[in-house]
Symmetry: C2
Subunit: 333 residues, 2 copies
């Protein structure tokens, strides 16, 4: 295992400390329990938005804390759900009196721990709503999930719900728009290589030199099939087929096309993928109205990528375009 | 070789086509010869700024084309200088009548080809100035370089010179500020793994499972020494020593601290590195006034990172903070 770390058990602590040192203009950090909040939290009268989950998927979620997106992010150990304590503490820290939305990826541990934290918050008089993200069309159930997994589509939910909260929508409205994004986004990924969880020290799975895994989960959970390495265009087509037929996306739709790197993929490859995905959407008469390309929902140093497609309407475009100021996404004022 | 590509000889063409499809709000692309220009080029009366070099370092340089930064980027083949033709064409495309600045990393091929293009442009009546970037303190001469290599500090030159051009500075002034940034920035990197150039198909060098290369070049050129893998903090200290003593940076200095990923390094590791670098600067009484963390000057999928430190003054801070709208750096209006 070759990593730029000190002690495997300090990876999250030290990374969060570095994040705090780098982005003190945007965030504050609680070290015990560990969570990251936007610098001006709580914002009075605004719905607070909290997300979180296992570390190792950065910039998700800490990189999305800031004006116009998340109020707090709660990182667990690498690929491990945070416990209810830090989720509760983050919920308290961002409560501006208008309630708090939990954005939770559909993994059993995350769902349970966010639910427990929500119950505890409610007992303290904080109103909490939750949206469970399950955008991955690859498999029906999975290693850590009943139903579909939550993957890169989470980024789009967090941006759009964050914009709704920022403009002053109430908790029910912010939860509605988050649910709407989740209902309109579909994703699927591929791995060329596994990754190594620091405290494990070994790859969580293995792939032969000429093998790739179609439908990989973001913790290396099994996908649909292992196949021999193919040209990028053929791989893109394998991912887009199930994505497009699932919603389905049809001619005349306006969409956001999101090509997400898994952490170790060079940017030239992500753009080669984008190029083919754009060709395929054009063939289907689907209009790419917005785009996102880069490493946003990663699996440490895994080589691979995922494609997410979100069906847009005027409301979602307005919220997507709204200003955002986070470490990983920033535009507008 | 496991890559998300189609044919190795089409990597740059297809990646640029994908870049164009993803960022048509920001850029236009010429496919023959290949270069990327900002959507509104040429901007009348504004100094144009052109950079370029071998591909494989993305987002540098195409990701920095847009308002407030580069007017054009010229990508060569992977790790290979672009020829004078596309550099000349890009120079013509961005000439708004106020002259054009070439920002050139110090590699023999780049320097020669940009010089030739500048001579040809001058013969057409386009005034061209050039700044040669040589921020890498690792080695005195190198595989493709007489003198020091140009590495991640280039990003800082491009942002700050871009802001100077955007506010209307004349060619001599933009060249002066670019030279100033180059004179005040120092960098050094480390590789944990090599990378594979697509048309070569094999790693350009090899490292044992427990070995790292201190002072690596961005094309895998040899650095200062190969050592056994050490804790991240010890590696950071090895890079910071030569960086700090070179300028030198001293107590009371205000700096921009830039931790740059080489392409395959997880973000948690970059922040662990940032944390230690910030500690060391604090011990030296150096004030971190601005920060940048992420994959900006990469070497395909190489695992590793570089640290750059730029000594700031009020002028440089104002220009750094100025709005920028590119695929890879975006803030302000």
């Amino acid at each position: 295992m070759k990593k730029l770390i000190n002690d495997p058990k300090n990876v999250v602590n030290e990374a969060v400390a570095g994040f705090e040192a780098a982005h003190s203009d945007l965030v504050r950090v609680s070290h015990d329990p560990i969570f990251i909040v936007r610098a001006d939290a709580p914002v009075a009268g605004k719905v607070g938005i909290v997300s979180g989950g296992g570390s190792g998927h950065e910039p998700m979620h800490g990189g999305f804390v800031g004006a116009g997106m998340l109020d707090a992010a709660v990182p667990g150990a690498v690929f491990t759900s945070p416990t209810p304590d830090p989720i509760l503490a983050a919920t308290q820290a961002v409560d501006g009196g208008a309630g708090v939305l939990h954005i939770v990826k559909n993994y059993t541990g995350d769902v349970l721990n966010f639910e427990t934290a929500a119950d505890l918050a409610l007992a303290e008089g904080i109103e909490v709503a939750a949206v469970i993200i399950n955008d991955d069309v690859a498999v029906k159930d999975s290693l850590y999930t009943a139903g579909r997994r939550g993957v890169a589509g989470t980024v789009l939910v967090e941006k759009i719900a964050g914009a709704a909260a920022e403009r002053g929508d109430d908790l029910a409205s912010v939860a509605r728009v988050a649910d709407k994004v989740n209902s309109l986004v579909r994703s699927m990924g591929v791995a060329l290589t596994p990754c190594v969880v620091p405290h494990a020290g070994e790859p969580s799975f293995t792939l032969a030199d000429d093998e790739i895994e179609i439908g990989i989960g973001i913790h290396g959970e099994p996908g649909r099939e292992r196949i021999k390495l193919e040209p990028a265009d053929a791989i893109v087509d394998r991912l887009l087929g199930p994505i497009l037929t699932d919603l389905p996306f049809v001619s005349g739709d306006r969409v956001l096309l999101f090509v997400n790197g898994m952490g170790g993929t060079p940017q030239v490859e992500l753009y080669i993928v984008f190029r083919r995905a754009a060709e395929v959407l054009a063939e289907h008469g689907i209009d790419i109205a917005r785009t996102l390309v880069g490493n946003f929902t990663t699996s440490l140093e895994m080589q691979g990528m995922s494609i997410s497609i979100l069906k847009l309407d005027d409301e979602l475009i307005t919220l997507w375009d709204a200003p955002v100021a986070t470490a990983a996404l920033r535009w507008g004022r």
